[in-house]
Amino acid sequence: MASVVSRACVAAARCQLASLLALAVPVVGSLVVCALLLLPVGAGFRLLPPTATALRSLSDRARARAARWTGTHIGPPPELTADRALGPRRRAGAVLADEGFWRDLAWAWLEPAVGGLLVAVPLALIEYGAFGALVQPFIWRIIDDGNWYGFIPVHSTATMLAALALGLALMAGGLFAAPAVLRLHARWGRLLLSAPRSAELARRVERLTDTRERALDTQAAELRRIERDLHDGAQARLVALGMTLERATRLLETDPAAARELLLDVRRTSEAALRDLRDLVHGILPPVLADRGLGDAVRSLALDSFLDVHVEAALPGRPPAPVESAAYFAVSEALTNAAKHAGAREVRITLTHEDGRLRAVVTDDGRGGADVADGTGLLGVRRRLDTFDGVLALHSPPGGPTTVTMEIPCALSSPKTSSSCATD
């Protein structure tokens, strides 16, 4: 209950702030209009870019407030060109051609009338309610006739109490309406301030092009690595094996003892070739991951690690194979970092799936101070997650602890096999 009341009070205070800001917006809006009007006489060209930028910073703040206060995401339009090298005419032209600018301007003029009025509703209720509940009890004796509160003529103790009750009800109504009104206000803001659809799409295309390019790069590099490993490893060993066999065959009649030595050598080489192939395959797709899925694969990582690793996996199904693989190697990298660089002793890994997102959190008790930009490891992981619209967040204050959080949007398939054994 207390938290509900305090949330309502905070929302009411925010309404107050929003209403004051709604009055400030048209001031900047009118400066922009002045600049527009001065365009024919030339001065407008110099005035328009700075005033448009000021308006944009106001609208940017309104977007940020909507996100902070109500969680409403308003995608920002592309930035106004701030290239000072261009002449004032070109810059003003760029502003005029910008769809986001006109949206900002429309918002600047409509915000006080619509948004301002909207947030004023709970404020009016609260303030008028306060007048009834806190002021009427003291003034009704002084003012005799014509003292009305709402629809109540206050001239006796009974009517004063009625006014008190009404005032309290209005205050409560205002307070509890405040959060909803704030949300409505944010939605109204989104209506005007969100980036034009074309800009959203352009941004998406740009991101997809970018991540696709990187995914192809990564894939090509991976294929090159596999090719090199096969060439230098198993393939080379098989060639050596063939040569040794050839020599052993020739020696079979003349020197059986030497032939026997060579054949033992052949066996060792074939074992080494198998080992190479095994390591290679393990690096491409770890068998436990293929057999059992992410939870058990991470448990297997934990068992192989030299640190104390605790795994909590609560996945009711399996993510798509590429996502599973990306998440596995991401967790593996985080675990390697904890052992190699953080000097950690204990690591905690949780795997969950909520709201259509696979979430992996790796926390170690090491010395902290890690930075994604420092090594190529986490940077590579971030690139790999990018392909799936996944994100990686690193929180590593000096002195630790370090927490790596990874999220990848994906759906889970229906549960198949999962192990029934606890392993940590």
Binding site: L274, P287, D296, R299, F306
Partner: protein, 214 residues
């Protein structure tokens, strides 16, 4: 000795059948997929099952699952699991019941037929056989964590072979030392690691493995 064999690659299955027959084992069923293995384990009541981890139709750990399931129904059913890879996780699952009579070996090991058949016999007799690679990983981990720190190199060798499930005689043969020297080393290892010594070979392996897994 009645053996049920599950291996999906024809060449390997054929080779294993030959090897086992040559060494006097009776292969009562040789199957190439999970469901058939489940049936064979139920119907044949073998003395030991030799099972490949990965089997059709799913090509996941079907063989291992079937083996674990059969051991849940009949605790202590001897099972030797073969795999292209050894995974600590799977080794733990096989050892989890604590009954012994399990083996977990890399497929590479079948090339040494004597050793392979010896492993089958030890498992059938209720022993525990772990692949050297599983033990090497466990020991490396133990060393990094400082849990097996103050053993002499010789004691470390003995511990390694002991954890693989070998008897004192086999350890002595492998390291070219006398059996009494092995007994001295094992006593010293148990004292240093704080493991209660046990005359029973199988219980000894399980205790050592439990210690290394910490």
């Amino acid at each position: 000795m009645r053996v049920v064999l599950a291996e999906d690659l024809f060449l390997l299955r054929d080779g294993l059948i030959r090897t086992l027959r040559e060494h006097g084992c009776e292969v009562v069923a040789a199957v190439d997929n999970g469901p058939a293995l489940r049936r064979a384990l139920l119907e044949e009541e073998p003395d030991v099952a030799v099972v490949d981890v990965r089997l059709p139709p799913t090509f996941t750990d079907e063989g291992l699952q079937a083996a674990l399931e059969a051991r849940r129904r009949r605790p202590g059913l001897p099972v030797l699991v073969l795999s292209q890879y050894v995974e600590q996780l799977y080794a733990n699952e096989l050892l989890a019941g604590g009954e012994g009579a399990v083996g977990y070996l890399l497929k590479d090991r079948v090339t040494d037929t004597e050793q392979f058949v010896d492993a089958v016999r030890r498992v059938a007799a209720g022993g525990t056989v772990m692949d050297p690679q599983v033990i090497a990983k466990l020991l490396a981990r133990g060393e990094a964590r400082g849990t097996v720190g103050d053993l002499t190199p010789r004691e470390r060798d003995v511990l390694e072979l002991m954890a693989e499930g070998r008897s004192n005689a086999a350890i002595a043969g492998g390291l070219h030392i006398s059996e009494s020297a092995v007994a001295k080393h094992t006593a010293s290892i148990f004292a240093r690691l704080g493991i209660a010594p046990s005359a029973d070979d199988n219980r000894r392996v399980l205790a050592v493995l439990a210690y290394l897994k910490r």
